[in-house]
């Protein structure tokens, strides 16, 4: 299995762990992740306004290069994943946007959203299979009570993201089970942590992150895992005094596969 691997800027700077363990685990699982040489930042935030064209272009370039290599794009960062999926959806379903972007980029072959964009977790679930991963686990994380934090960007809007059930997702819990640990289900796992305003509005970010943290704790979690560097930062920085440890899901995967 070979995929185009889109790391995104954060995985090259503050979230090197997320990146490193994703690669190591992939190797252990027999997946080749090929990082394009010339990738650009996806823009970090999906431009919701319909008349924002330029801010969509860098994501389109990534999608086009994956199409030209005839491969699906795998991302780990929730934010990059969100941007790529939604821009891809625009290119597929919004004729006006597709026309404008194509005219601007003057591509040899018009791009119409052909690339498959999947998250690393989706790859684990749909392409490899959690049963298969379970077999490859060397050091099961037995007895650990782990809370999955989904946040917003993986799940919503579910019609476009098509990642999992937006209200009762199961993918990370299934992942946790595959690693031999015990998933903790808590109501705020799909509520916003406030990461969006982590720079501009500390008090709101603290309030939102605190709620998530408290909900996970109340339900008996010892540890929170996430796929998003921003959630990771925000839960850690603004999660309150007696916060739980927060780690990337790839780190646990590497640990269980014993490639850490």
């Amino acid at each position: 299995m070979i995929y185009t691997y889109y790391p995104g800027c954060t995985l090259k700077t503050k979230a090197k762990d997320l990146d490193l363990y994703a690669r190591k685990s992939a190797t252990a699982l027999g997946v080749t992740l090929e990082e394009p040489e010339d990738w650009q930042c996806c823009g970090a935030v999906y431009p919701l306004a319909r008349d924002e064209i330029a801010t969509r272009l860098s994501a389109v370039r990534t999608l086009v290069s994956a199409r030209d290599n005839k491969r699906a794009v795998v991302t780990v960062c929730s934010a990059c994943h969100h941007v790529l999926v939604r821009v891809n959806d625009d290119m597929k379903n919004d004729a006006d946007m597709r026309g404008k972007v194509n005219r601007y980029l003057e591509l040899e072959n018009e791009y119409g959203g052909e690339t498959e964009v999947i998250h690393y977790l989706t790859m684990l679930r749909d392409k490899i299979g959690f049963d298969e991963i379970k077999k490859k686990v060397v050091k099961p994380l037995e007895g650990k009570k782990i809370a999955a934090y989904y946040g917003c960007m993986l799940l919503r809007p579910s019609k476009i993201m098509a990642f999992d059930d937006a209200e009762n997702p199961t993918i990370i819990e299934d992942f946790i089970k595959a690693l031999g640990a015990e998933p903790v289900i808590y109501p705020f796992r799909n509520e916003c942590c406030g990461g969006y305003v982590t720079m501009s509005d500390k008090s709101l970010a603290k309030k939102a992150a605190g709620k998530v943290m408290a909900s996970a704790k109340d339900n008996g979690a010892e540890l929170i895992i996430t796929a998003c560097p921003l959630c990771m930062y925000n839960l850690d920085a603004n999660g309150g005094a007696d916060k739980l440890p927060v780690r990337y899901f790839t780190e646990l995967l590497a640990e269980a596969l014993d490639v850490k």
Binding site: A166, E191, M199, S200, K211, P229
Partner: protein, 130 residues
């Protein structure tokens, strides 16, 4: 209904891709919103006020910058109205005016800490200034 600026309302509808008139005032968005308590105008009011053309009040509101873009309102709205998109269209409308940047490049160094992920900084440039 006060038609302060229907032209402005149409602009916001075009920009957000949302027909706010589909709203039936059920309040699902406000019931869902994690930032509700921080807002002076609440999500359902955003939708209503855009329909009525009362754009300027929204542009000068505190709420404009409280929305977390978590899409919970988008996910649960029974009418396919996307309040988060409306908020974003309003933000963009304001930012495109001269001198209306919410955060300037000079502000950013003061907001950094050494763990802050790159994406937060990149998106700050996208979200708060033009």
């Amino acid at each position: 209904m006060v038609h302060k600026s229907l032209e402005q309302a149409c602009l916001i509808m075009d920009r957000s891709g949302v027909d706010t008139r589909k709203c039936m005032m059920c309040g699902k968005c406000s019931a869902t919103c994690p930032a509700f308590d921080e807002m002076d105008y609440h999500p359902h009011q955003f939708v209503k006020m855009v329909t009525e053309g009362d754009i300027e009040s929204l542009l000068s509101s505190k709420s404009l910058w409280k929305c977390l873009s978590c899409f919970a309102c988008v996910e649960r709205c029974p009418r396919g109205v996307e309040p988060a998109n409306v908020v974003e269209a309003l933000r963009v409308t304001l930012l495109r005016r001269q001198g209306e940047n919410y955060i300037t490049a000079d502000d950013i160094p003061g907001l950094l800490d050494d763990k802050l992920p790159q994406q937060a900084i990149v998106s700050a440039f996208r979200k708060y200034k033009k």
